[in-house]
Symmetry: C3
Subunit: 214 residues, 3 copies
């Protein structure tokens, strides 16, 4: 598995597009920013996770900067979000779905890139999770929200599952594409189930429920 | 154009000084920090943009760390700000002017460094913008404000213009110094005009005005 | 002094454990997160400073990622904190003590690593301070607090003292272990004295007291 393979690139660019839309729409719902703010937040959400991933892997300059396709896809996603601004009041569900989609695609592509760089098994899983939650966490910090990875129990866990499937698949010699599809689908399903049923991971013993999903 | 050329160094150190003063005075106005807090925020504002720039370029260790002149200029700027603390109530305008100055100088120096590292044309412009807005965004996140690049339409745009002038100049064979002066002056003028007239980029369609400059 | 020497490793792993406990308990006190949020914040607090340090040193991938011992120690500290959650109401003092301990150990280990990479004397001290305050600052930003390094005067100063002792010791040919012990003990004592007596560095002239320790 090579980080320039078509499978990796399609997953990574699809995740970039999903997070660009998500970040830009979040900007319009939460902070009512102008076009520059909307596009900036969209691009940071889309490109932030890959930037952290590539810094950790010492794969600098990061692909999200040096490869024009990432910049173009992120900008396109943010602009599409901006021009559909009049629908912003109906965007709560699309924002959640796109966030789950970006999470799933980046968990899988981040883990694949880690495998390609021959980091350890645990490290590849962690790298998938960091890629998946990095951009959204940056988005949340910039608009002064506590990142979803901290408040929503079923946010990191599906990313762990998705990355784990891919890493296990690679270890067992399964081709990248099928294990990536299974991993991403599983991650997406768990995340959406968590959102739908308001499920959380266990809270501290004797301290009642943790924060529900916002 | 070489990133150790005198032109680059003067622009970059002048921007460092402007942001150190700006960050330190911001700390004193907004959060009333003590000398350590003031100097720390001043230095982070001054050195943060260059740190992100050099990480992206894989020019590590970052010049803002390994070159003592950056550390000395940033510390000096922050200390000058601290000892002039009794004037803090009159500092709203100087803070804005210094922010615009740092933005202009770093947009230009960041783009020049990108050109020196032979990144693509779009990448050099983006690198200028990241350098210009990076330190101030770090400052704003640390004191719990939404970064100006998100809320103020005419913050990223002048940085894009300044970086674009420098990159276009280099492409056309113009010497670094004149195009840097024109780019920085244009960036500064647009930013100050935006502040003065309260101009913003267009907001989302049908959603009313975006946030005004704070 | 080599960054894989036993002295360095013990200091660095002990600091990692202290910050993992501290970050996880902070999560439970301040934000009442569930197990994933608690472990995530604990690991970010524990591993964040070393990640920034190793990025600056161009020692990528960071040891906090590529060396499984850091991941294991950070995860263990966070899990220990989680299962002791029912004591969270009595944790204010342990949290402060662990924070001071992590600060002291990382100030010393960060400076030692800088010396090992043959950065300048001032740079080694700054690197110690960045390692010491980096993880805690990340923790504070993620839970929407102004980082202690900005609001608490006697937070950066003890880290400077601890790092300075180690760097001076190395310059004078003292072995790493004794100067590390003296540096860390001094840093810890100054920090705890500052907490106990509510001491702060001087505030801006004519502007009254800076924020007290939170």
């Amino acid at each position: 598995m090579n980080s320039t393979s078509p499978t990796f690139l399609v997953l990574d660019l699809a995740g970039t597009f999903a997070f660009a839309l998500n970040g830009a729409w979040t900007a319009m719902r939460v902070a009512r920013l102008d076009i520059v703010g909307v596009v900036t937040l969209g691009m940071m959400t889309a490109l932030g996770g890959g930037f952290i991933r590539d810094t950790i892997l010492d794969a600098l300059p990061p692909a999200t900067f040096s490869d024009w396709r990432y910049l173009a896809v992120a900008a396109a996603g943010a602009l599409v979000a901006f021009v559909s601004g009049q629908f912003a009041d109906k965007l709560a569900t699309p924002i959640l779905v796109l966030d789950a989609l970006g999470l799933s695609l980046f968990a899988v592509s981040g883990a694949l890139k880690g495998v390609g760089f021959q980091v350890g098994v645990a490290q590849a899983v962690i790298l998938g999770v960091i890629t998946a939650v990095g951009g959204g966490s940056l988005r949340d910090v910039l608009i002064r929200q506590i990142p979803a990875v901290l408040t929503s129990g079923l946010y990191a866990i599906p990313a762990v599952v998705g990355a784990l499937v891919v890493v296990a698949g690679t270890q067992m010699g399964v081709a990248a594409l099928p294990s990536a599809i299974v991993g991403a689908a599983l991650c997406f399903a768990i995340r959406m189930a968590g959102v739908h049923f308001g499920v959380n991971a266990p809270g501290p013993i004797g301290r009642g429920r943790a924060n529900a999903d916002p």
